[in-house]
Structure formats: structure tokens, C-alpha cells
Symmetry: C2
Subunit: 326 residues, 2 copies
């Protein structure tokens, strides 16, 4: 059994192989250059790696179908990042210029489109026995990811967002793709429907926990551990789990203070907002929610019908993802 890092490495080799065979090579260059630019920005390759891990969990020999599914998921994910960055007007991605900044908005739209189509093109290589089920799951997931992005943008225009709606948004925007990546691997490894559903449940809850952890660390992490400046969400008035919970717990005076802080910038804004968050206990509420979703994930993992030691890579991954602040 390979661990997460090793599977990510295996995927990287497959990706390089496909690039050597012609993926995003050739003309028109103005279409494919942005695709290559985006792919070489790297990232942790979490989704394809967990796809391979899930396949190996159920079947020691990882088939070509699994690799094609992994590549489909990674291309789809990259496509969404390219388009999201336009919509969010984000200048940087992984410390480099976003695609639409590096090229043009037009280039980013069309190159994103073609990356999405190439994701589907990967799936055409699947065995006929796996194709219908994987395609159905992939379509459902892709639609949900779009819906999640729309909710995220909608929320930015709303004064009040309910916690349940926020969780539903991150489920759609982030968690389902992680879950589907695992389930696609499981399907291609001939896992039973029940087992494939269970790894999906694991991935879904892990995905939600991971996103909540992201919210938490952006406010309460340390720069050294997180690897980026703390407080970005607060400075940008982002509607995170912390922000929406603070608003729902605040009394009238505190709500007015939060509203005043929204309109200013700088260190004062950050420290005073964090202060309110802690007084209201939203940091603790967030930690509790993270623990709940982590437990649900582990519960699902526990129910999967393979020897416990085969699950080590998943337990390690969960610990790695959830202990980024340590």
C-alpha cells in the first residue's frame, strides 16, 4: 500500500506520461499554453492521489481506469480554479499570477472550457463496464461543484447566511469532488456499491472538516504552520464559518461593532475581530464542528470491509490534513 505522497507521485508520473504523449501540446498554442501554465502551477494533487488510494484500498492492482479517472478529476479541478479565479478576481494562485492575469480573461475562459472537456475525454478511455457509473457520478459531482460556486458568490451578496446553508455550500463546492474522486477509484477497483458509497461518505465528511479547518486556521493558525499570512478572510470580509456564526451569536452592540470593523482595514481590524470571535466562542464552535465531521469520516472509514491495516494511508492522510496547525 502506498501512502498519500507516494500516490501523488505515481499520479504525477502518469500526468507527465500523458504530456509526453501530447496532452495540451500542439496548436492552437494560445488555447493550450494557459492549460499547461495552470497544470505546472502544481498543487498537492490531493484528488487524484485519493482516487488512487481508494482504488488500492479495494484492489492491490491499480488499473488504467483508475489513472484516467484520477486525471479527469485533476483536470476538472484545475478548470474550476481557472474560471473561479476570473469570477473571484483573484490575482494570485499558488503564489503565481492566475491564468486570466498571466494571459487574458478570454484565454482563461476558453482554456478552462477545453480543460473541462479534456476531463471528459479521459473518461472515454474507461472500460465499458466502468464508464456509465463513473460518468454518472462525475456529471453529478461537476454540477454540484458549479452550484457550490454559485452559492458561494450568492452568499457574498447576502447579509446573513445560516450555518446549515454555509455547510451545504462547502459540501458542494469542495467536499463532493474529494468524495467522488475516492468513489471513482473504488468503482474502477470493483468495490461493491455499498463499499463505494462508504468511501464517498468518508471523503465527503473529510472534505467538510478540511474546509472548516481552513476557515479556522486562516484566523487562528500561525503563519509558520499554515504557510500564508493569517487573517486574509477577515481582511476580505469573507463569509466563513467563523464570520457567519459570530453574526448569529452577537448581541446588538457586538453586531454593530462587527459591522463597523467590516468597513475598516489593517491590524486593528484583525485583532478586534479575533477578539470578538473568541468572546463569542466561535473558535470553539468551529473546532467542535471540525471534530464532528472528522468523527463522521472515521466512522465511515471504520465500516469499510477491508483489513484495518489497509486503511492506514487514509488515517494518515486525515491526520495530516487535520493537524496542519500543529
Amino acid at each position: 500500500m502506498l501512502n498519500f505522497k507516494e500516490q501523488a507521485g505515481q499520479f504525477e508520473l502518469f500526468l507527465e506520461q500523458q504530456q509526453e504523449k501530447g496532452l495540451f501540446k500542439g496548436a492552437p498554442q494560445n488555447l493550450y499554453d494557459p492549460c499547461n501554465y495552470m497544470l505546472q502551477l502544481g498543487g498537492k494533487r490531493i484528488r487524484p492521489a485519493v482516487c488512487l488510494m481508494a482504488a488500492e484500498l479495494f484492489n492491490p492492482g491499480i488499473s488504467e481506469d483508475v489513472y484516467w479517472s484520477a486525471l479527469a478529476v485533476e483536470l476538472f479541478h484545475n478548470f474550476t480554479l481557472v474560471h473561479d479565479d476570473i469570477m473571484d478576481e483573484a490575482p494570485l494562485r499558488r503564489g503565481k499570477a492566475t491564468v486570466y492575469k498571466q494571459y487574458t480573461t478570454t484565454a482563461a475562459i476558453l482554456s478552462g472550457d477545453v480543460m473541462n472537456i479534456y476531463a471528459y475525454r479521459c473518461l472515454q478511455n474507461l472500460q465499458p463496464a466502468n464508464l456509465p457509473e463513473v460518468l454518472r457520478l462525475f456529471n453529478k459531482t461537476a454540477i454540484e461543484v458549479c452550484e457550490g460556486q454559485q452559492y458561494d458568490m450568492d452568499f457574498e451578496q447576502q447579509d446573513i447566511v445560516a450555518e446549515a446553508d454555509y455547510i451545504e455550500m462547502i459540501r458542494l463546492k469542495t467536499a463532493v469532488l474529494l468524495a467522488a474522486s475516492m468513489q471513482m477509484g473504488a468503482i474502477c477497483a470493483n468495490a461493491s456499491q455499498e463499499q463505494a458509497d462508504m468511501i464517498y461518505t468518508f471523503g465527503l465528511n473529510l472534505g467538510i472538516a478540511f474546509q472548516l479547518q481552513d476557515d479556522f486556521l486562516d484566523s487562528f493558525g500561525t503563519e509558520a504552520a499554515v504557510g500564508k499570512q493569517i487573517g486574509g478572510d477577515i481582511q476580505a470580509n469573507k463569509k466563513t464559518f467563523l464570520a457567519i456564526n459570530a453574526l448569529s451569536l452577537a448581541d446588538a452592540t457586538t453586531a454593530m461593532e462587527l459591522s463597523r470593523l467590516k468597513d475598516i482595514k489593517g491590524a486593528d481590524k484583525l485583532s478586534k475581530t479575533l477578539d470578538i470571535y473568541q468572546k463569542l466562542g466561535v473558535d470553539i464552535a468551529c473546532k467542535k464542528a471540525i471534530e464532528q465531521y472528522t468523527s463522521k469520516a472515521l466512522e465511515a472509514l471504520d465500516k469499510i470491509d477491508v483489513a484495518q491495516e489497509r486503511k492506514q494511508a487514509f488515517t494518515d492522510l486525515l491526520n495530516f490534513l487535520m493537524n496542519r496547525n500543529s
Copy 2:
């Protein structure tokens, strides 16, 4: 055998059925409203109609697979229009505001994305026997359409475009989707590979002829027959078959005059450019090219191994499309 109009009507019924069943209904509204807005702009439903026609050519009973293929193609086409209109900064589509003008660029990007994914979601309803072949053809075509759009935008930045490159661009941007629509219908109707390829060849050449006809009519048609103002391409300095041929045939003096005309606007620009086109004979060259591609289309249609009278709907369609100026 139903004719083009009747098949378009059949498709419209299927589309309405799907809408009643929930297509683009539900939340988030900001995602699905633009999809519905785009679909209700209408259009001639050429691609789904020829998909149904091609199926009926080979098999009298049109299966569900054919309808799903037709809807996939129509959704894909609409998705490309939504994104193309952003890229081309087009304010109007079918006399109404384009999606990004009616809503926002952000809405148009994400709604276009989800329409593309819904196109693939239609294909998941195909019988397992048809799915792999149709998916492969659809992917190949979708990639080509993106490449065609990129070449089109590239050409606008180039001083000189070769005729062969222009033909290749319209093949990719326009013709392959018409051809694939027909071939998808043929595949779902169990036509042999050879026969399915033949209807593709028919559609491809018809598509090129149709686009060249569009170029011709925009300069040499009558407003009454074409249904829009004449001269739009010339006023916008678009690189049409006429424009690129004029530039390649012009002597130094005429080339300078064409270059001067590019920088002005108004009636004078139109009449003087048309004058040069006629002197250089590019109108005749264009008519000749249209005839060539029309002949190639008819040749392919002729080779299709079904009773000639079953082909009537296609011959009628070709005559209808190619005689819009009469």
C-alpha cells in the same frame, strides 16, 4: 420521414418535456436562470434536428438515445454561444441581450460551464452499447470547436490569413458540430461505421458551405432575404473568406486602398469595399467554393446506402440552407 421543420418541432417537444421534468429548474436560481434565458432565445435548432433526421435516415423508429444526443448537442452549442459572446463582446444574440449583458460576465461564465456539463449529463442516459462511441465523437468535436474559436480569435490579430487556414477554422468552429450531430444520430440508429462516416462527411461539407454562404450573404445578400443588415462583416473588419481572398489577390495599390478603408466607417466604406471585392472577383471565388463544398456534401449523401427517397429531407435542407438569398 419527417422533414427538417418537423424534426425541429419534435426536438422542441422533447426539450419542453425535460424542462417540465426539472431541467434547469430549482436552486441556485442565479446559476440556472441564465441557462433558461439562453434556451428560450430559441434559434433554429438545426443541430438537434439533423441529429434526429440522420437517425431516421437509417432507422424509422427514433430511440431515446437519439433524443438525448440531440439535446446534448443543443446544450453544448448554447454553452459555446454564451461563452463566445463574452469573448467577442457581442451585445446582441437573436435580437436580444446576450447572457453576459442580461446578467453578468460571472453569471455567463458559470452558467455556460454548467450547460456544458449538462450536455454530458444527457449522454449518461445512452444505452451502454452506444455510449462509448458517442462520447468519443462528442469529446473530439467539443475540443475541435474550442480550437476553432481560438483560431478565429487568433486570426483577428493577424494581418494575413491563408485561405486554407480560414477553411480549417470554419471547419472546426462550425462544421464539425453539424457533422457530429448527424453522426451521433446515425450511431444511435445502428448505422454501420462506414455509413455513419458518410453522413459525417455530408454534414461537414454542408457546414463549410453554409458558413461560406454566410460570409457571401453578409456582403452580397439583400436585407430582405437575409433578415439582417448587410455589410456587418465589412464594417467590423471581420476576416471573412471574402476579406482574406481580397487581400491575397490585391496589387499594392488596391491593398493600400483596402487598408485605408479598414480605418473608416459608414456607407462609403461598404460600397467601396464591395467594389474592390467585385473587381478582384472574390464574390465569384466565394460562390465557386460554396458550390465545391455543396457538391462534396451531395456526393457523400449520394453514397449513403439507403433508398434515395429517404434522403429527401436532407436534400431539402441543403437546398433551404444554400438558397437563402433567392
